[in-house]
């Protein structure tokens, strides 16, 4: 890249060429080498499958259901994770009390919670959201905590001599904005992890729609071209959500920082 963010036409050309080459290679390998739609569907197979999905009109429902699961998980991770991180970062005693618990629970893989998700929430959207939540909540807690730990002392002191005295005001007016870059990158990580948990969360039958569920469904029908379409949709949607978030955070929330890299 020439300068950060800006790409010349030459570099754009290289990127386009690379993607095109990959697609051509994929098509050739699938048609001439593998020649088995079950093991490796070709690019055109996937394209036709995609068109059929669009024609069927079911894609929109799948998207909406998946975003519902994802939204439940991420929102609850933020609503629970940020206050916990704030309390741990600001009050030493809360940190001492919660840190061991978090360190014990955190290494449990989110998917290991699926049985309890079913027992507690049944086969519901909330249940899938819960699995996403388990994956997403820890990066939020840890980054919020880190952000609060590294609030420069001089900002807190400057605020105090300007008459901002209570913990509540100091958190609201000083620590939270100062920690925002760290919290934002925590949210970004948690959205990545949450997105990965989504497929598994939809595989245990919480709903008959959803991108993750459809991967499983088409696998049972041995329609691997459809499986691949849903895989690619998951990938592109994840990328899109990440870009959208970065655009909002860098351009709106954190424009006070010079040369932001979230």
């Amino acid at each position: 890249m020439s300068k950060h963010g800006t790409k010349g036409p030459r570099e754009r050309g290289i990127e386009l060429l690379s993607v095109t080459m990959a697609i051509v290679l994929w098509q050739l390998v699938a048609d001439l080498v593998v020649n088995n739609k079950f093991i490796l569907p070709s690019f055109t197979d996937v394209l036709f499958a995609f068109i059929r999905i669009i024609e069927g009109g079911i894609l929109f429902t799948d998207l909406a259901i998946s975003l519902l699961h994802f939204g439940i998980g991420i929102l609850s991770a933020l609503l629970i994770g940020i206050p916990i991180g704030v309390a741990m970062g600001w009050f030493k005693i809360v940190n001492r009390a919660l840190d061991p618990l978090i360190e014990i629970i955190r290494p449990i893989p989110p998917l290991a919670w699926i049985p309890f998700a079913i027992v507690w929430f049944g086969l519901t959207h909330t249940s899938a959201g819960f699995v996403v939540f388990v994956g997403a909540v820890f990066p939020v807690i840890i980054n919020t905590f880190d952000g609060f730990k590294s609030v420069p002392k001089v900002y807190v002191e400057a605020a105090k001599v300007l008459g901002c005295m209570s913990s509540g005001s100091l958190i609201r007016y000083v620590a939270l904005p100062s920690a925002l870059p760290s919290i934002a990158s925590g949210i970004r990580i948690s959205m990545g992890v949450g997105w990965m948990c989504l497929v598994a969360a939809e595989m245990f039958g919480v709903s008959t729609n959803g991108l993750g569920y459809k991967i499983w469904w088409h696998y049972y029908l041995h329609q691997m071209d459809f499986v691949l379409v849903y895989m690619l949709i998951l990938g592109f949607l994840g990328l899109f959500i990440d870009r959208l978030f970065r655009w909002y955070v860098d351009g709106q929330l954190l424009k006070w920082r010079a040369g932001v890299v979230v």
């Binding site: 400057a158 605020a159 105090k160 001599v161 300007l162 005295m165 000083v174 100062s178 920082r257």
Partner: protein
């Protein structure tokens, strides 16, 4: 009014495992209303600690500090402070930084803005009203920090080597501007510096401190007429006297 009385202050800092260093040892000092006082001394002499104790950011282990007769125990808006490091809130624009103090006091938004605009004008940065701190030079940041402290209309302005990180020319300009502000608003200023030149140019009273544990070595009243000539023979004489005292301190 802005009369500060420091009586018998001692401040100790805990090091590891029960050990502690005495930063200030039994310090007495009187600062009159509207006076410009400079603290000078070798590094580690406790001049910043004394200033921070007046701000209420450090608690004395012994002794008492009063402002116009009232005890100082915690920071509040009667004493404004300008820090050595850049302390502007980077997530707030220039004008939002200046409104911070009044906003905390619960003053209405319109009134807050009115006050802030006044002090923004005072430091001559109207065209940077909506800039973020990262867009400003060091000198501008400290100007905004001064405006931010003044917007709270404190009785005493505490300054901890505020121009220490600036280049010599910017420093001279800011010293002159500070004297104008002081003359205009008639507040007490307590100014920590390690620069003899700065102290001689600014102060009514120079408090020379000795190192570890911090004590007051000597209080010198400066009666050079204002506006002062940096290179006059009287200023030079005073500078020599101070330099000698500081050199003595370093030897000890």
């Amino acid at each position: 009014m802005g009369e500060v009385k420091v009586s018998g202050i001692s401040v100790a800092f805990e090091k590891e495992e029960g050990e502690s260093t005495l930063a200030l040892d039994n310090v007495d000092l009187e600062i009159k209303d509207k006076e410009f006082v400079c603290f000078i001394g070798p590094s580690g002499c406790g001049k910043t600690t004394l200033l921070r104790t007046i701000a209420g950011l450090e608690m004395p282990d012994k002794g008492q500090i009063t402002l116009d007769g009232g005890d100082i125990t915690i920071p509040d808006s009667t004493r404004g402070m300008v820090f050595q490091e850049y302390s502007l809130f980077p997530w707030r624009t220039v004008i939002q930084n200046i409104t911070f103090g009044p906003q905390m006091k619960g003053i209405s938004k319109n009134k807050t803005l009115e006050v802030a605009e006044k002090y923004l004008k005072l430091v001559g940065l109207e065209q940077f009203r909506n800039s973020y701190p990262y867009e400003l030079s060091g000198g501008m940041r400290q100007r905004v920090a001064i405006a931010r402290a003044l917007a709270n209309e404190p009785k005493v302005l505490l300054m901890d080597e505020p121009f220490g990180a600036l280049d010599a020319q910017t420093r001279n300009t800011l010293q002159k501007e500070l004297l104008q502000v002081w003359a205009k608003y008639q507040i007490t200023i307590v100014f920590v510096t390690h620069s003899v030149d700065e102290a001689v140019f600014l102060a009514d009273k120079i408090v020379v401190m000795s190192a570890r544990p911090g004590r007051i070595k000597k209080v010198i009243n400066v009666d050079l007429p204002r506006p002062r000539e940096r290179t006059s023979s009287e200023a030079n004489e005073l500078r020599n006297q101070l330099l000698k005292m500081l050199a003595e301190e370093r030897r000890n």
